[in-house]
Symmetry: C2
């Protein structure tokens, strides 16, 4: 079943041939390929969601939404390709009076990198798998994709791959533009192959770092866009806690248990003011609220036995840290009851490891701080994160805390929860290491640029220029000309 | 004289403090800092150029031009900071009807990375040194810079550093925003320091790769923007050769001897049609023309003894390759006569190492191909390059050759010469490994983005949003709002 090294080499060579045929097609053609994939996934949604249910323990509603999201993403990227945003076309006409001396005619456009290897994640069998964000953005960029299947949903992945290949074929794309491989040996071959020009990866910190190191050690190193681990801290100010404690705890319980906590954006740390006194009569304490809130959440087995093993181990590591107590007790059942651990800010300062242990599953840690404690100093102890959240009142001055979190996270949230990552123009899903191995995003239209590089055309005659750089702008894309942006088709709202 | 590890740590810590004070200043303030540096360099031009002449063997005209270029670059970057192009500000308002489900308000802006380490190059004591492209773009991005001095022009570097520090101080920038260190131990400390978030490097392939590897091995790997080696092949078609042989050879002779061949964009390979017959009576052959053209070029000693040693070794490696002959004989004098070697395309196919040996100095190789030979197949043998050039006639079909070169080079030139790299909006100075270790440019306004990362603000109230993301656009920058570009101050030419 596993792809042999020989088969992998053949697949990559075919991908390179397809890339050569596909790299220069016009935007309309490339957009049609993406839309063909979207329609084919939609047409086969019932079968795909059914396969997903058999293999992942995720429920139908969640899988259907995730498939819808992937389909939407392909169409959004198709629109972006038509607009040509990702080409970053820039034209500087020859200028004899340019400040540093005469300037030749120089024009820049972004071109695809070539064959891209994509590693699927287990926790999003659609959105971060065969035709997830990495594959969609690489195809939108004009690359060929060789996808390494996650065996946690093997049948679903194989079927998705077949549907994608058929859809591309039906739309007239060259054969080999998208293909799949299976197994560790094939994966290593993919990262090492000289024709492979970039890797997209979503998975564990250990696995991702090993592949990052492999990509960096190549004779010709390549970019490794890895999304690894994140704990996603949430800070609640005293003012917000006083006004909205119960609402915040309800939101927290929903967010960390969503999808059985198997989200890279799961809030794994909640910093709240400690309860200086026992609750008043009839007043529920934090433990009481969280136990009640968590009780009603749907439970399902985790995605795989291996993942469950990792979760149990990570949970035990934190639970057994001196000074960590259990606030909501989990259990050992196949569909485990969520766990909430608790500790204090002072303890965290002595045991900073508590802030670094991701527990990938339904568990989180409540850290109680003393009134007047310095939240910024706690934030400074954090490693790189995908997200960091602040619950505060609109007119509080939390600028130091926000600045500190900004240095450590790719997305900041205000009075919201980090689970759920919309696909849009402004989205950024990334963050300093170990959240990711790059400064880029793996979600949203900006993800396309990861799989492109710029090329400048110096002193070219119009007859030899690529279409997006010709003065007459045959593709009707947005361009910067002599420093000033030009908008096609009357788009744009001058903001005078 | 060398900076100790302790001193380096102190310098980096001070840079981090300065970065914290500087990262959020408004564009006008940051632009004023850059302009203050520009004016100070200009005011001290005579002294700086004099120091450069003493230390580098480069002549006054060249050094003055290079300083002018660096000053221009700082002012261009200041203008770009005011325009806010590098912030890539993107606003997606909340949208309950967004295609994949309700979208929260999400806004993205690019922020500086932090402290950046910059390694100066010997061959451009202004443009790629203390206040060259890497330092200027990192400061424009909002980073603090710790510059590792190239000891090939130590006194010039120290003086430049002092002028920059004074200029920043005079403009009110925080102390420590720019500083210099000296020596290998300090350099290694810089690449390893946890507070350092990116490295800019221009230098040799061996040295650059070693530092790239070091940066990738860190517990938290950081981007290493290295510009290493390039041979810059030039292909001349039969048609162009027939029409413009003498002019092309004159251009080639000027380009490869410019600055004694010590440019990263020096054309090191010229592919031309072989001369099938002896020249007619009174007709000069290629060797004759090149000997004559080269004869008149000014000669100077190379930048340093170490560099000369490297040049002599590289030249000997190519010269002693079987099938390589001498067309223009160099010499061993202190200011060496340029060398042109020659071989054939068939020989190159047997000895591909000829295409991979950079000779950093006044030497180049003429490769003669047989009429009808496949230039694309030769181009396919090339490694990554900063530039690749085609001399052809406007209506020739050289699309396969151009496509092949595009995969291997960051700048393509048409009937022009690669030496001389203008600083502009469209410029791209980069290319696949080993030309660089990244997909970015180290010249032009696009270089600023290397030292930034995006952060998304999710569900923030206006009172807590950073200025560039507020609806009222207080900085007056160009932004993308709900997918559509908005232009400040009525800029932009709708292209209907």
């Amino acid at each position: 079943m596993h792809t042999t090294v020989e088969e992998t080499n053949t697949t990559i060579t075919a991908a390179q041939v397809a890339y050569g045929q596909a790299r220069d097609v016009d935007p309309g053609t490339r957009a049609a390929w993406l839309r063909s994939i979207a329609s084919a996934l939609e047409a086969n949604a019932d079968e795909l969601v059914g396969l997903g249910q058999q293999e992942t323990h995720l429920d139908e509603g969640r899988l259907s939404f995730e498939l819808k999201r992937s389909v939407f993403q392909l169409r959004l990227f198709a629109d972006e390709v038509i607009r040509g945003e990702h080409l970053d076309a820039t034209i500087d006409h020859a200028d004899p009076s340019w400040g540093m001396g005469p300037r030749p005619d120089i024009r820049r456009v972004s071109v695809p990198l070539g064959v891209v290897g994509v590693f699927g994640a287990s926790n999003f069998p659609f959105a971060f798998s065969v035709m997830g964000g990495d594959s969609a953005s690489a195809l939108a960029a004009g690359c060929a994709v060789v996808h390494k299947i996650h065996e946690g949903h093997l049948q679903l992945a194989l079927r998705t791959g077949a549907i994608v290949e058929e859809a591309l074929d039906a739309a007239g794309a060259p054969q080999g533009l998208f293909s799949t491989i299976i197994g560790r040996q094939a994966a290593e071959c993919l990262v090492d192959h000289p024709l492979v020009k970039a890797i997209g990866f979503t998975g564990s910190t250990a696995g991702g770092r090993a592949l990052f190191d492999q990509a960096a050690r190549r004779p010709s190193p390549i970019p490794f866009y890895g999304e690894l681990g994140s704990i996603n801290p949430v800070f609640v100010t005293e003012a917000a806690w006083k006004l909205r404690r119960d609402e915040i705890l309800a939101g927290f319980a929903s967010s960390f248990t969503m999808g059985m906590g198997q989200f890279c954006t799961k809030p794994g740390l909640l910093f709240v003011p400690g309860n200086p006194a026992v609750p008043g009569e009839g007043e529920e304490d934090v433990a009481g609220i969280l136990n009640r809130e968590v009780e009603g959440k749907p439970r399902r087995p985790l995605l795989s036995g291996k993942l469950r093993e990792g979760f149990d181990g990570a949970l035990e590591t934190v639970r057994s840290t001196p000074g960590v107590d259990v606030m909501v007790a989990g259990d050992d059942s196949e569909a485990p009851h969520p766990t909430v651990l608790t500790t204090t800010a002072d303890r965290v300062r002595e045991q900073p490891g508590i802030l670094e242990q991701e527990m990938f599953g339904p568990a989180s840690v409540v850290v109680e701080y003393q009134p007047g404690d310095d939240l910024t100093s706690l934030a400074r102890m954090l490693e790189g994160q995908l997200t960091a959240t602040v619950h505060a009142e609109p007119h509080e001055d939390v600028s130091d805390l926000l600045s500190t979190l900004r240095e450590r996270a790719g997305r900041l949230l205000w009075n919201a929860w980090p689970t759920g990552v919309t696909v849009s123009y402004a989205q950024h899903h990334g963050g300093p290491y170990p959240a990711t191995t790059a400064t880029t995003t793996s979600v949203g239209t900006a993800a396309i640029g990861r799989f492109m590089r710029a090329v400048a055309y110096d002193s070219f005659p119009p007859s030899q220029m690529p279409a997006p750089l010709r003065d007459e702008n045959p593709w009707g894309i947005r361009r910067r000309v002599d420093g000033v942006w030009e908008l096609p088709n009357g788009e744009g709202k001058p903001n005078e």
